[in-house]
Symmetry: C2
Subunit: 358 residues, 2 copies
């Protein structure tokens, strides 16, 4: 499916926090985005609104976006309540009629919408539901422990701490060093960016670990490193299960812990964020019985702090844990890649607990 010239639908919500998908896609695939639809901010550039993305124009509607010759439309916001709002339906119908492919990460599948599906058939365009998952996923079998590639999983003290961005940036930084590195996407945005992957949070509970295992096995083929995009957090009241399943499905050799220093409570919950040292200790505790997966690097998300404050947080994190830390957006991911390589060179590949302690 061609998506070299995307227009992103972010009506009424374009921003770093309001449209995570839109912002992430622009950060990592700036050259593939021709315009963003948000009538409330039309006339500005993405750079002006989110601080990156350069001159990508924000336009007021699809008609205006068509001037930039898009080949596809990405739904870059999530509807409240999960159902497709009527005003979006009108935009999607117009886009299909104009021959655009549609990409959506919504829980409600566009391909199951009779009207849109029929129209897409007529116009020979594609409706791609990024959250659609294979129906033949297995229960995990500890197979990921046997791959030769060094497997790294990003985990977090909460949701939305930067796990996808850090995994992507580490993959790119490793490739710049000449290493064969694979990014394994597990959420709709990462899947859109990479053009492959499985939205593990959409998988039936019993098969979440198996889905992750499959991504590691496939990603390890011919690669030295697999960077798996983590989901949720083992400390999150709603999403902890998916996070633990991923840990035991990926059986990583090392973890990168993502954390936002300014956040005090778990997003939308009255539950405190754990400290970094607690987070390291508890990840150690839950990985050890199957395969130890040490935290070898800490990725701080200091988007809301000054450079001086960020440097202070990095120093504090390293002092508290003894583990290398950085902010990948501000200072690049190479420090964390070096930490991973150090771990590989010193400890080598990890093994399942059963094999190392028979």
């Amino acid at each position: 499916m061609k998506k070299n010239r995307s227009v992103i639908l972010a009506e009424g919500a374009f921003g770093v926090l309001g449209s995570k998908t839109a912002a992430c896609v622009i950060r990592h695939r700036q050259n593939e985005v021709v315009a963003v639809i948000d009538s409330t901010q039309a006339g500005k550039t993405t750079e002006e609104v989110i601080g990156f993305g350069g001159p990508i124009p924000i336009v007021c509607d699809l008609a205006e976006a068509m001037k930039y010759l898009p080949d596809s439309l990405l739904v870059g916001i999530a509807p409240k309540g999960g159902r497709l709002p009527e005003e979006w339906r009108a935009i999607l119908k117009e886009a299909i009629s104009l021959g655009l492919h549609i990409f959506s990460g919504m829980h409600t599948f566009l391909s199951e919408d009779a009207e849109l599906a029929e129209l897409a058939r007529e116009k020979a365009t594609a409706l791609v539901d990024l959250r659609d998952v294979p129906d033949d996923l297995p229960v995990a079998r500890c197979l990921a422990a046997d791959v030769e590639a060094f497997v790294v999983l990003t985990v977090g003290t909460d949701c939305a701490t930067g796990k996808m961005t850090v995994a992507l940036q580490m993959t790119e930084a490793a490739r710049k060093r000449g290493l064969k590195a694979h990014f394994a996407p597990t959420g709709q945005t990462g899947i859109y960016i990479a053009g492959e992957g499985i939205a593990v949070d959409r998988v039936i509970g019993d098969f979440v670990a198996g889905a992750t295992e499959r991504l590691v096995l496939e990603g390890a083929e011919g690669n030295d490193f697999v960077f798996v995009e983590g989901q949720g957090s083992i400390f999150h009241p709603g999403y902890s299960g998916v996070a633990l399943a991923m840990l035991h499905g990926a059986l990583p050799d090392a973890l990168i812990l993502c954390h936002q220093p300014s956040r005090v409570l778990v997003s939308d919950y009255d539950v405190p964020i754990v400290s970094l040292s607690e987070a390291v200790r508890i990840h150690d505790a839950v990985s050890a019985p199957i395969k130890p997966a040490p935290v070898v690097g800490i990725a701080l998300n200091c988007f809301d702090l000054s450079e001086e404050e960020t440097l202070r947080e990095i120093e504090k994190a390293e002092k508290e844990t003894g583990i290398p830390a950085t902010d990948c957006i501000k200072f690049g991911a190479d420090k964390l890649v070096r930490a991973v390589i150090d771990r590989m060179n010193s400890g080598g590949k990890g093994k399942c607990t059963s094999r190392s302690n028979p």
Copy 2:
């Protein structure tokens, strides 16, 4: 749906381990089972094969089972590979034709089988898929922490250690003490026995905790105690995610840890079973950040040990952990109910970490 006189289909597999559903239903609802179909053991009683169930006859086919005037048929075995085998289809068609309701815990839903569904409509019988789950489940919101009832969750060092049986037995033991106790079933067998519940392992990853939360909220209404049937184990390579999601969805006040002393490796995996003290420590570690849930009792599953060996294991477990232990099948669940009541009286209801440590 009437199921006061069930015949259980367990062809070729009836036994404590070969047909877990059949054995559990007979243990807890002996008076509602009129016959078991297993041609390889026809002529025996269930008591002769599994050690309980009394004189329930094992018969060679459905025709013979009909002599005992069943009102329903329960599929008590799981097909290899998930698909409905052709020979089972023939039996199910015959049963529907004879007017029996069909209960099934298979992953493949009978109600989605066009041929069986059509036949059931004609004969006005029901096809009940015990694993079918509601499609409006929420993300968990820490609401279970607010119920007035004392919530107990059974957890395990592995799958199939007795979590459902222990929760059921504790519910019954609490009721015998005059307490208002509710059993919250989370798997197909418990759902069949109780006539309600949600098969949480069939729920999409993001909503497993939310499904558990709903069961606790509903079960707590008008009850003093809710005993939640746990699933999987946070140490199981395939099912750990479901287990952790349940812990954070139920936000229990106390845990009962189920363990089979004779088991060395996780079932079907080359991974050692954790020690009891490790299991207690790691459950403490993962519950503490949201709401502490101490292990207050240990339920040992010593089905394969002599009484003397069992007593020795109980003593060993108590010495290792300092926590009351017993084998509920051999000695009843009252000791564990007392441990729960002691906890309630000493510590009272647990609270979310945020509220106790603001």
